[in-house]
Symmetry: C2
Subunit: 463 residues, 2 copies
Amino acid sequence: MATKGSLKTPKGTRDWVGGDLLLRDDIFTVLERHGGIALDTPVFELRSILSEKYGEESRLIYNLEDQGGEACSLRYDLTVPFARWLSMRSDVQHIKRYQIAKVYRRDQPAIARGRLREFYQCDFDIAGVYDPMIPDAEILCIIAEVFEAFKIGVAIKLNHRKILDGLFAVAGVPGDKIRATSSAVDKLDKAPWDEVRKELLDKGLLEEVADRVGGYVQRSGGMREMLESLGSDAELSANATLIEGVTDMKLLASYLEAMDVIDKVSFDLSLARGLDYYTGLIYEVVVVVADSASPPTQVGSIAAGGRYDDLVGMYGRRPLPCVGISFGVDRIFTILDARRNKKSTSDLAGQAQVYIMAFGGKEFDGLLLERMRVARQLWAAGIRAEFAAKVKPKPLQQFNASEGVPVAVMLGQDELEAGQLRVKCLHVGDKNAAQKDKGQLVPRGNLVEEVKRLLASTIAEKE
Amino acid sequence: MATKGSLKTPKGTRDWVGGDLLLRDDIFTVLERHGGIALDTPVFELRSILSEKYGEESRLIYNLEDQGGEACSLRYDLTVPFARWLSMRSDVQHIKRYQIAKVYRRDQPAIARGRLREFYQCDFDIAGVYDPMIPDAEILCIIAEVFEAFKIGVAIKLNHRKILDGLFAVAGVPGDKIRATSSAVDKLDKAPWDEVRKELLDKGLLEEVADRVGGYVQRSGGMREMLESLGSDAELSANATLIEGVTDMKLLASYLEAMDVIDKVSFDLSLARGLDYYTGLIYEVVVVVADSASPPTQVGSIAAGGRYDDLVGMYGRRPLPCVGISFGVDRIFTILDARRNKKSTSDLAGQAQVYIMAFGGKEFDGLLLERMRVARQLWAAGIRAEFAAKVKPKPLQQFNASEGVPVAVMLGQDELEAGQLRVKCLHVGDKNAAQKDKGQLVPRGNLVEEVKRLLASTIAEKE
């Protein structure tokens, strides 16, 4: 029964192992502090749920094969499944939810830069009717806290869909070309203006209109300064949509000052975000300096999001305004990974707290059953214990296997017959001394208690 | 932009929210205690990796649509991806790994009984060459510990592929019909013997052979008793394969006695397990009594596994013996859920530790910016804090929103000007008294410290 074909994961996917996965816990700690509730949705959705949500990016959606039954596709992000869930749960008027899960895009992968076809996103969203910009400010605060926790220096670029739409209208972009203009402008962080201008002309904009768009969207700066500059332009100030956006941004600036996040944001008129569903504030997070010791990273944006007040309403049940953020977990992994030393296979051993050994003379039978009894006793007390899975392990084998483990329990035939065990601290890095130190004899009944005491003392010593 | 089609999750899938997801942590606690390392693999694998691993069940595999590129399928279990990973990682000689993830089977769903098309499995496996049956015994011990942690009474049914193969050979089943016989016999827990007998005849067994098979496989009992009965049968004792299995089971019985797990197991010759890859010990866990207050559950087996020494070698690189267990997480959810009261939407609010309120007279502006400053300060200290997302919240609104939150921080204009805040415990269930108690004034600089002190005292009081 041989297996044909290559031995690998599918293109654009990878395995994750051990410590890499613990990153999640650090994000969760922040998200739970903000009252987030965990949600988990199926990896595939009815195809109709995903359709008409992603604009030009829809071509990247993975479909399941038609094997009879419903047409389904793998989720493309976590926002649309959340909106679908909200629409089904009409009893939910307000919620903060988070979800960490994989999403799927048939894009060109670049694994070294953390760009994959299957990748983790971690989303936090606030749904419900609240006073303007208060939840938006909390989301920006969460972004700041998450990257503070990871010690990654970031800049948050802000823009507002209504300001963009207003600018485009004032520049003379026809109403039916606003989304197309937006998705061309969104490429300005990767492409020079000339290329974007060409795309605008190809999409049917007049040269004069394209140049006016270019004059507006290439401006960025601090929030206060940009708001002043937009406010002082008489033509822009006459556009009602733009004014709505400016009012939102002024309110936001005051909230970000109160929350001490204002230094982390900039107002960037070229930020447009490709997805169709955004309706207000939008943002993208880029790495400023991971840390001075790291090589420069090329991971692009590591988190992005915005306000989407109409998406839940698209499912026909009821509208519900929402604002949220998606963290690009794999890109954050990539940055943190570059900081650490290369991994060794020793990462693949669990960190035991206690190693159970047995020694004896010529007639020594390995005391396996006794080691098992002790292991079961320690496990039941919640202690991470290990022993050699051999009937008659050699002393040296056991000492080598116990490297890095703080405490040893040692069994000998005579001592067992007297109802006693030997317990001792294993001093890492001083194997000879450790082998000479015989530890202390403990009555069997006191084993758990004595092991816990030793473990606590080893931790105290380290601190 | 209306969305056509029904608003639901695909057939056989469901959403999970809030507390349901915390179940994972309880399982992880046990698995980490046994030195497990987390592994995470892609949700889809190359189709060639999955082929010829699942026998008759292969028809239940979900395929991805051919959109160009490699042929891929959704994973059917977590065992085959683990074996694929081990085969790629030739540096790994020994590992204990766990993985919790969803698997996919195009089966007939029965959601009330916890049978879904997308469902969580949690696997723990031990790979490597060890002395016989020691890792197998540890796996059975882990099973016992996991269900002890959930307080679910279980029975573990054991059998051994070599004993089954030996029995079939002695009964006269031709070598090429052994797997087919096995998968028919596996249905004995759901179907009466007559039906299974008919399937055996349909598969080409002689009546006399089928009846001999029936005589053997309908026997079950305690390990010691069954081993004695098998050993006393002269015809069976002459079969070399069967003897190998019996030797394993004797060793295992002594280990299970040492680990105090022997009372939880029975030896059931009808247990066969459908999957092709098992080579030695096999087991299935069934609920005995969830608890006396619960309705009887119909979830079938809630965990299953066995030894598969040849699967890694099938990928052509190198052989590596393995033994493992899959926990049916959703079925465990279903049992635990039946114990709890019906959920209310209040489960969907995060458990804040501190609620920040503001009060004032006629000129009161809501002190939103101040509430934000305080929130940011508490969040930065790791405290779960909330405030009303309203510019001017009413006192009653704030009191209602703070229900169940242990500590309040209260802001007033005059006090703020004097650099002070009010902090107090909110006594759940006695709202009137709580509203009268004015709390204590604290200098702004001592806020975090004082809140932590109050939180600690509330917890102490509850205990």
